[in-house]
Symmetry: C2
Subunit: 323 residues, 2 copies
């Protein structure tokens, strides 16, 4: 079954609550672009992680709805501000907010979404509210750190694979981790369960980003929905080209056949071929699978893994997606 | 005595705690611009309001330090993002953040400051934390609403004085109001005290903004530290020109001598003369004084007013400032 079909009732409820989170007092210059953004298609992975992490520790998923909505609003804020910084024109096939409504509005919409996110968040159960606000706030700082590092890397000559992992750990994985942690806390999970689900979300997030980086090099364009090689053409440092660089640096004999300087490749397809030939594609695939496997190891200590388990289904989906 | 001299120990402590709020984990591309901004001169009115509101209800001012720091970080976030939106190059005589470090960094710094603000805020006393986070979050949404309205007004033909008051109530007064409310709550004030100090902060904020608008038209440039008439030249709708418009609309005979269309004035000084001649300057001064007087009426119900009362001193200072 299609992923979105499978979780339809949950996704529908998340969509509805997201729309309801838009305070009616907002002036139209804010509410209109917010609605535009909220109505874009999207799989709602993060809020689903929150809801199902709540269930995994024996809670009712509805208890985690405010936290789930807060997580998605937070995610939307980062997308909107990142799109300005990266000067991206399209998001999920739609005009980005700053292209459609101007940069000032996009900045302000992002800011307002942080406010709306906290407004939802504090509707969480009172006995866990303190912990929830603390974790959410830490995520806000960490995700900004991650984005700052990502921007720093653009102008740096050399970035190590470890530095890259630290960056995506903050920029991408932190929110998936927090999505799971908040769900587990809302569901009344004990400390061990919360830790394991936090760990699950973190590893899932790292595997997700590495897979994402790989897809930009090897995906089928018709499935990816955008051109492959866009990171490459933007000279973005991603897991794939950093791994390639690392491999060549450790195996000088390879440097006789392959260039460390990517600009020396006549075409993107030549670099693609080099990635396959040097075994980088295989290696990166293995790494992504390793993170996913470790994520499932953590999850398994909370709840038995089977084909009906929604967190297991999401993990498999992220692992196997071609887009 | 100079205002900043008078409260030196408090201001020094606020400055120190602001610097300490910058998480050591932040990458230099964030921490460097944050330090640049935090080290600009400034009177720290908002955190002082928080500390002295705490004292006014019998609390130790130190109890309110986390909330005071959160309020100032919040204020800094709004200044940084507003400067991008308004394309302002200078702030307190220094290059604005987006001019010095680029727009992407300025957006991200603003975002990170919201995170740091909440990180301070949640260090507030546990028994009042829930209320504090709620009030602070509402302020985040309201201030965004205020900024959105301000931007909307730029492209609107007509704005009424009431609409303008609603806008500055959100954009400017809300944070002063919340600064006082948070202090009163941290200090263990009862509901009535919190309400009165909230009211004090709101009225103080409205008087402050109206005074600010007036100064742009009539200040002594050498004291203001910038050119007078900048709002006028930017065609900004402020309390002064909206009052002027309202006056002429209600007194058609005035329209024979004074133009409703400000563009018809040959020079800024001609419009200045009209503001004096029509009595608008006097009227606006009276309004600002009225808000200040009402603010003090509210304050007086919490604490006896005398020359040594720091909230009284701040109120007088804001009322009398020429810059």
């Amino acid at each position: 079954m299609e992923f979105s079909e499978q979780f339809k009732p949950y996704i529908e409820r998340v969509r509805q609550d997201l729309l309801n989170s838009v305070a009616p007092s907002l002036p139209s210059s804010l509410s209109e672009p917010i609605h535009y953004f909220l109505q874009m298609p999207g799989k709602k992975i993060r809020p689903l992680l929150t809801l199902f992490s709540c269930q995994a520790v024996g809670g009712r998923w509805e208890t985690a709805l405010p936290a789930a909505i807060a997580v998605e609003l937070f995610h939307d804020f980062t997308l909107i501000h990142d799109d300005i910084m990266d000067q991206d024109d399209l998001r999920r096939g739609f005009q980005t907010l700053h292209v459609k409504y101007g940069e000032s509005t996009a900045i302000l919409v992002g800011d307002a979404l942080i406010g709306l996110a906290y407004q939802e968040l504090i509707k969480s159960p009172p006995d866990s509210r303190d912990a929830i606000v603390k974790i959410f706030t830490e995520a806000l700082v960490k995700v900004c750190e991650g984005q700052a590092l990502d921007k720093e890397f653009e102008s740096r000559e050399q970035v190590s694979v470890d530095e890259y992992l630290d960056m995506i750990g903050k920029k991408t994985a932190w929110l998936l981790k927090v999505a799971c942690a908040l769900g587990a806390i809302c569901g009344g999970g004990n400390q061990r369960q919360v830790e394991l689900l936090t760990c699950f979300g973190d590893l899932l997030g790292l595997g997700f980003q590495i897979q994402d980086d790989l897809l930009d090099f090897i995906a089928d364009e018709s499935k990816l929905g955008k051109k492959v090689g866009s990171d490459y053409k933007m000279h973005k440092k991603t897991y794939v080209n950093l791994k390639y660089r690392e491999l060549l640096q450790h195996q000088p004999e390879l440097q006789r056949r392959y260039s460390l300087n990517l600009a020396e490749y006549p075409a993107f397809s030549d670099f693609q071929n080099a990635l396959y030939a040097t075994g980088v594609v295989e290696e990166v695939k293995r790494e992504a699978e390793r993170y996913t496997r470790e994520a499932l190891n953590a999850l398994e200590q909370v709840i038995p893994l089977n084909e009906d388990n929604p967190l297991y289904i999401i993990t498999q989906f992220l692992q196997n997606r071609q887009y």
